[in-house]
Symmetry: none
């Protein structure tokens, strides 16, 4: 559970926490529908109490979604703060998201779906804003990478960002619907490998290495110091 927005002092605060925690659990397990009384039950309150604290079921999901993004954002910022090359920061960022997908895929699906179904809702607005804040971190790093020649500069950064998120999502969905399991984090790194311009060098490396060593021997034979 990724609840972050803890408000411990007041009685109401504690109840709200419990409700959000319960809702988080239920949404993951049963989706947005077919949840009803179960949330209240797990929170140890009565159904009416839920609506005392959250205007509607959708409002409750919005709160849960905010909790999720709180955690996600703080994790990402912490990753970026850690010293490291641009490439390393990119890798950490993607790995953070891949980890969240592994843990929170079910929840993510719930609010993404629900936001799609109610495009004018508070939820949709919230999700859009939080998502933008989050992906901005990616875009910034991507732009750095483009400047450094690690990523193609002539492609919109937004597209590169979409490649990361989109490919991960699609791959996960495919594996789940086929009933297969998947190492999401590894896939994330694979995608990066594929995108980074360096990678294309790699395959030729052995060949070039072999050639170079032969030349070295040729040079030394000729009495010339290699390098």
């Amino acid at each position: 559970m990724s609840t972050t927005h803890v408000e411990p002092r007041t009685r109401g605060g504690r109840t709200r926490d419990a409700i959000r925690a319960a809702a988080d659990e239920c949404f993951r397990q049963y989706g947005f529908d077919a949840t009803g009384a179960e949330i209240a039950r797990r929170a140890g309150v009565v159904e009416g109490t839920v609506f005392l604290h959250y205007r509607s079921k959708l409002g409750l999901l919005t709160a849960v979604t905010n909790d999720f993004y709180d955690l996600l954002q703080s994790e990402a910022e912490r990753s970026l703060a850690r010293a490291g090359s641009v490439v390393e920061r990119f890798r950490l960022l993607v790995d953070g998201w891949a980890s969240r997908m592994e843990t929170d895929w079910d929840l993510i699906n719930v609010f993404v779906q629900q936001a799609q179904n109610t495009p004018d809702s508070e939820l949709a607005k919230t999700m859009h804003a939080r998502s933008r804040d989050y992906t901005r971190l990616f875009v910034a790093v991507i732009e750095e990478l483009q400047a450094d020649g690690h990523l193609p500069a002539d492609t919109p950064a937004a597209l590169l960002r979409d490649m990361v998120f989109g490919t991960l999502e699609h791959t996960v969905r495919g594996h789940i619907s086929a009933g297969r399991s998947l190492d999401v984090r590894a896939t994330g790194q694979q995608i990066i490998d594929l995108l980074l311009l360096e990678r294309e060098a790699a395959p030729a490396a052995d060949r070039l290495g072999a050639i170079e060593s032969k030349l070295d021997r040729l040079l030394s034979r000729a009495g010339i110091e290699p390098d």
Copy 2:
């Protein structure tokens, strides 16, 4: 509207067509929660008649989904049949899907979501099977492209396929949720451009540079003017 399975002769066939067409419309507009009454109204029949021809609402969606895939598949196969280079065939394939996304995004979302929510349903099975058949066309072309050196051979073809589909989906979703419009087909081609190896030429510069300098020294030792 993408209804394909037209059965015009019999009265029942015509009614079924009308119902499927109406359902297609409604599902796009209201999602799966589209009321049975509305579907019937648009089809010009009574609500009971809908269930006379389709066992359940989910069954009706399954039929509509099949219609969609019928059209999609036939379009794709026609594209492939048209003579052209592998790369051209790849571009046509992706363009076909991008076009469908432009037209049928709402419908696609409905059956994808519903299949996720009922993983053991006939719909989920149908969708899975049809989807596999369709994406197989992509995988086959991708493998050709890998063999020809247009796409990296050391990356699983499935991952490359996921990059195409996933990136497109994510891009579209992002634009829609932001209320912006998007040229999906152009995006599709952009993705291809990004993936094709031709553009990657530059990279192994360092290594080749080293080799070149060694050769230069070798040449100069041989009394030959380098360059």
Copy 3:
């Protein structure tokens, strides 16, 4: 299957037979409800055809019920025609009914229940009339038995009849609802044994015999010729 009213000549007659036969089967298996299209299917016709020949589902059940009583009545009359003492005829009659219960319990329940639920229906009238005709055979024999001293003359014959039918029914229902099997015919004979006065006479007989012999002695002592 106990269909009796066979009308073989015409095409319609044959269809009607098939429908009645199918209905008989279905009513036994599924009860009056939850039958719908199955009857038509088994009769090899279309649902509409059923209503071409029988005004309503209830009318169809009425026809099936009449078939049942046709057979029942003719069997009973044949039993009575067979020479034999009153007691033997009574036993045969009861045994006939017990046999029918063994074979047709499910069907009997259907039309009895349905007649109860629609007391003014054609079915209820039919069932009442046919049942009266049938049980009259029993009443007649019972009255004979009463006249002959085999059954108590001061009890209404109708009550004795009800004891036979009611006890059998209740016993069968009890065994079925408890999931136990039962030899209905044996139970029928047991009931008769219980009712027939002969069995009760025995105990008192000795006592009376003793008294009479004492009086005889008294009379003879008094010089009076006994009898």
Copy 4:
């Protein structure tokens, strides 16, 4: 109305009572097909409220059935507690059931029928269990009567019990379907009279007749006018 399980304190308890009372009424009038709307109307609540308190219509009938058996059982036990001979207790027991048949025949039919139609339902189990508890009281008394020589000891007590219940049921059903009224309680006592061995004294009319005539002769010989 035979509702017994009154729970008056809480608001919910009162509502549940009202619903059960309304259901009881409706089931009697219209059978199990009584519409949920009507039940709610009579209970003074909205249709949804019914399902808030009882999971399903069948569950509601089960509750009503339990009410019925509660009353029935307590009445019977109270009867047995009243001092009296075995025969008197037997008569009271049968009279109690006969009274219930007079009052609750319609209701009894509803749950018996419904239990037959859904043999695996909670209702069927409930009814079976409660019925067994109730009839056990009869069997116990019957066995006492057998031990005391009031009932034939060589007949299974269960069969004697079935004779009481079955005959009553069949007699009532017959009278109702014929549109005639019936004094059920009197019939109950008549059945007892028929079964009790004492009554069997009468029949030996011939024998007693013979004795009487002999006594007459004896008397006349003694110079006394017979009668």
